[in-house]
Assembly symmetry: C2
Homo-oligomer: 491 residues x 2
């Protein structure tokens, strides 16, 4: 057999690997054909001037992968059970590269086409009002966080292992239960707290565990559109109920004639209007849920930031029934890329949520759970929230003052006393797109609130202004530029 | 109005908060009844000997929460739209605490009851063969990892923010694409790589995006039972196809008369038998998938650890068609609590997977993605894998030698040349439970492989032995103790 094989003795690639590659190539290209006898390892070694061990090594590999086969007491052959045509076309792709996958998406997958992805990162205008709910990153005690991560690394023998518990690191669950009991009047034991990857995963897990195709979910309108995407992707029908200055108009629930499985609410600080759900409505909502058997999903995403009043206790704490599932997040009080949030569920639901979390991704990363535990237990969370509450209140005041000063009655400010964003309505003839475009031309990012409305048309003129990560001067300058647009557009 | 209110001037609780609590309590307990006029702020301040601002502050809070209401030019009243019975029962729970939630689980949720959770952490026997697939944690360069995390923290202004891309940190995706192309012969561009929370989330995302209730999935039998749970929870029917020493018996696929949506395979190192799928079967599998339009899901979970041979290239790289989705993880080569893995999907599927990841939990944590990128790009991944490959090979050799030495023909070792676990069959009359119990009595944790079999009975006598995190002496001692059991049980 005249077999030309390229081997470079001086190459950094081991000889046995070069030989393997050459032989495999020869088989795939058809130079060596099925059933053909291979030279003995001894003779090939001699021909090539290399050690027999090298040849043996390459042959073994080819044997184990099925390129070669051995007939006892006879020799080694190019495997014959391989169809020639498949073999030949493997160097060139074995299957036409235009072959489209016939596979269809699931009904879940098919709904996702309408989900809006975040815009690709690019040059953002200097004055970015668009990041509503974005903490002031330069105020985060990153050195402290680094130290806590380092400290957690010292526990390397326990902290690297497979998670002991899908519900999360026990001391973190205890710290959160304590925080929630004290600061949010949530009734819970650590056993009911489940660590998840941000409130987003909390929403998704609950939707998945409770919603079948066609089930109904009540949502505030306007409301948190990302939650709506999740419910809709799960196949649920979303029933919008309007919101006023006291939050969800709970009385309207009794007009519903079809059974509702879940009610999603943001009672502390309605997203996006900022309204606090009044006590009477809270009690009415709980009573309605008890009557109808619906589950309430309370999303308490930024309740830490109330500026004029003391925090409003969580809805969950107002009842001893098991009709409320509570969701919180560290994305606002710490930072979003941490991807850490939590669920508080009725005791009897803990096992099924644990199993879902275990199947979905086992557990949230452990190192950061340790760091977060120390952050809370050593009082850093509380002091950071306190500092940020003061800072955000100031920035918000600046925003409101600037809006009043520059825009006067051209703007209505909605829900100005809490949270990390303000919703405003500009009284202007421009379309939302024109408004945003003109703002961008002036270096200002401005986000329409229309996604929050079931019917986007209803949100016309409404915008979400985030200011928590902007300096006072930047806020003032931004509003001044918005005023330019409005004044230029005056009829 | 004679209103006894407890205020402690010397308390650390602010007066306005004490007043708020007292008034709220009075309303909830019924001491103040609906419609009752409240004293004016001025007179209450005088009565209590506190400043009027304090009273105003408390009243405002109670107004905003709906406990009080104002009638213009008339005064402040206990809100009357609150049903008295609800109000009275709020201190005592408003709703009977025995109220069971009527809510039903979704069909997904209902299937989870059968999912096995990991055993609660407790005293594990000293010699733990049960942790198959568990890396040697004391060999992980944790100091280096700590340094890389610290370095990432320095980028605090970009690293804390909301994720720019649900697909993951771009440089990490580039580093993984490069690693896969070189080490695993995977054909991919960085754009096709999607960062997820371990291979578990990869499996779950794909199952969710492609499987509807009743769809069929082919799995190796025995196979990775955690994948089976995911497919079954998604409502799919799992069709088991047997495995021999060359992996999945692909020829049996052609006997299937019903359409198959997905084929889940572990071709590099079949779980749990350790077989490598032969080339002829790889090609036949690809051809069958092309013919039938089924999607192949290649789980390459521990292919880095082959000891006698060079790595077998990935199935995905053998075809230029878009019929293979490739899954990998850092749980084995780094550490499991990192929760980091990746998907390589055909280009046209990238957008839908991105949307699913965005809805499910936005993105994986960013800080650790940065650290991992540096870990790979600075060559640490390669050198760590190289070191571990030598160590694990040695430990595995020790295990195989000890099994042969102590147990001789009482044991058959299956798939001994690769991976992080060995499957063994003990030839013994004891049941699997008896075997595990007796091992535990001798301080040895032993895990039956029966979960891997569609019909658990078929796995009788089969056990999974993990040895990668055990010292040689521990391995030998463990096997010696197992031999004691087998010898004591000899008829």
């Amino acid at each position: 057999m005249d077999l030309a094989l390229k081997l470079e003795i001086t190459s950094t690639i081991p000889l046995h690997r070069q030989l393997y590659d050459e032989l495999r190539q020869a088989i795939l290209s058809g130079r060596l054909v099925s059933g053909q006898r291979m030279p003995s390892t001894r003779s090939l070694a001699k021909t090539l001037g290399i050690s027999r061990a090298t040849v043996l090594f390459s042959y073994d590999q080819l044997l184990s992968e099925g390129y070669l086969s051995t007939v006892p007491a006879s020799g080694t052959f190019v495997a014959c059970q391989l169809p020639n045509e498949l073999l030949r076309s493997t160097t060139a792709p074995p299957i036409s590269s235009t072959f489209p996958p016939c596979i269809e998406l699931s009904s879940y997958g098919a709904t996702l086409a309408t989900v809006e992805l975040p815009p690709a990162p690019g040059q953002k205008p200097l004055i970015n009002f668009g990041c509503y709910g974005r903490p002031a990153f330069d105020e985060f005690p990153i050195h402290l966080w680094r130290r806590l991560l380092s400290r957690a690394c010292r526990l390397s023998n326990t902290i690297l292992d497979y998670p002991a518990d899908p519900l999360g690191y026990k001391p973190l669950r205890e710290a959160i239960a304590c925080y929630l009991t004290q600061s949010r009047a949530v009734r819970c034991e650590p056993e009911q707290v489940i660590i998840v990857n941000g409130s987003q995963q909390a929403l998704d897990l609950i939707a998945r565990l409770f919603l079948n195709q066609g089930d109904r979910v009540v949502m505030e309108n306007p409301g948190y559109f990302e939650a709506r995407y999740i419910f809709q992707a799960q196949g649920a029908e979303v029933l919008p109920i309007p919101v006023d200055r006291s939050g969800l108009i709970v009385e309207k629930l009794s007009t519903l004639t079809i059974p509702v499985k879940l009610v999603y609410v943001t009672p502390s600080h309605q997203f996006p209007t900022g309204a606090a759900l009044s006590l009477s409505r809270r009690l009415a909502l709980l009573a309605w849920a008890q009557q109808t058997g619906a589950m309430i999903l309370e999303d308490d995403y930024d309740s830490e930031f109330r500026y004029d009043e003391r925090p409003i206790p969580a809805l969950q704490g107002l009842t001893s029934s098991d009709s409320v599932i509570y969701i919180g997040t560290f994305s606002k009080v710490l930072f979003p890329s941490l991807r850490m949030g939590y669920l508080v569920v009725p005791p009897q639901l803990v096992p099924v949520v644990a199993r879902a979390k275990w199947l979905v991704d086992r557990q949230s990363p452990l190192l950061e759970q340790h760091a977060l535990t120390d952050f809370i237990n050593e009082g850093h969370l509380e002091s950071h929230i306190r500092r940020m509450r003061i800072l955000y209140a100031e920035r918000r005041r600046t925003l409101v003052q600037a809006l009043n000063q520059y825009l006067g009655n051209q703007v209505t400010i909605i829900g100005e006393n809490a949270g990390m964003n303000a919703m405003v309505q500009f009284h202007i003839q421009l379309s939302d797109e024109e408004m945003s475009d003109r703002a961008e031309q002036r270096g200002v990012e401005l986000i329409s609130a229309c996604s929050c409305y079931m019917n986007a048309e209803d949100g016309k003129g409404m915008f979400l202004l985030g200011c928590t990560d902007l300096d006072s001067e930047v806020i003032q300058e931004g509003v001044r530029r918005l005023a330019e647009i409005l004044n230029a557009a005056e009829p």
